[in-house]
Symmetry: C2
Subunit: 87 residues, 2 copies
DNA sequence: AATCTATTTAGAAGATCTTCAAAATACCTG
DNA sequence: CAGGTATTTTGAAGATCTTCTAAATAGATT
């Protein structure tokens, strides 16, 4: 955990798009990759950063690795931000 | 504007600390710098990034440049994040 | 005008980030 | 076990980030 890693993870447009894709439910790494014009290696790199930031978690099933949103960290970030508005 | 710039700005611990300092009210660049063990040039660099992300705005007065929080962008970020939680 | 104070800009060094191609791993299926 | 599919890891290139020192700018004061 740590806000540096979380905000850094959120700072990349590809990673934000991945998070938006995952709103509808879990997706495999390949399904995620098919939405982008990048190699699977690069997608894997981005997923690793999202995972390290705890913004997603993975579940392995058969030959696939599924990724899923972790909304609890999103809550934490919003809590941090909220201290910046009102007191 | 743009979430990339905003999240990138938020990803650095020094810049987050600066934003927290500004909760209590505006501060000059020098006053901000006095809270950190870094050169004024580095603080100026960080302030520039916060400014470009619209997280702060400056007002010049006498010899000083005062920095102030811009909470409206914080709201926008929270709005973006909120689409990640609920449906 | 000369100088002092506050702050920024420029340039450079070293660290970190993003991307790819190629190789490695993991698991499934025949 | 051999081969196939899904994904990650490695290593490298080029871009961007953070920090400093030194120099430049802006405004106030003498």
């Amino acid at each position: 955990m740590g806000f540096a890693e979380t905000f850094k993870a959120l700072s990349d447009p590809v990673r934000r798009e991945i998070l938006l894709l995952l709103r509808k439910g879990r997706l495999s790494a390949g399904e995620i990759g098919s939405h982008f014009d990048m190699t699977g290696a690069t997608i894997s790199y981005h997923l690793g950063i999202l995972k390290k930031a705890d913004l997603v978690f993975e579940t392995r099933e058969k030959n696939f690795i599924y990724y899923e949103l972790n909304t609890s960290v999103v809550e934490e970030v919003m809590l941090w931000l909220s201290q910046l508005r009102g007191e």
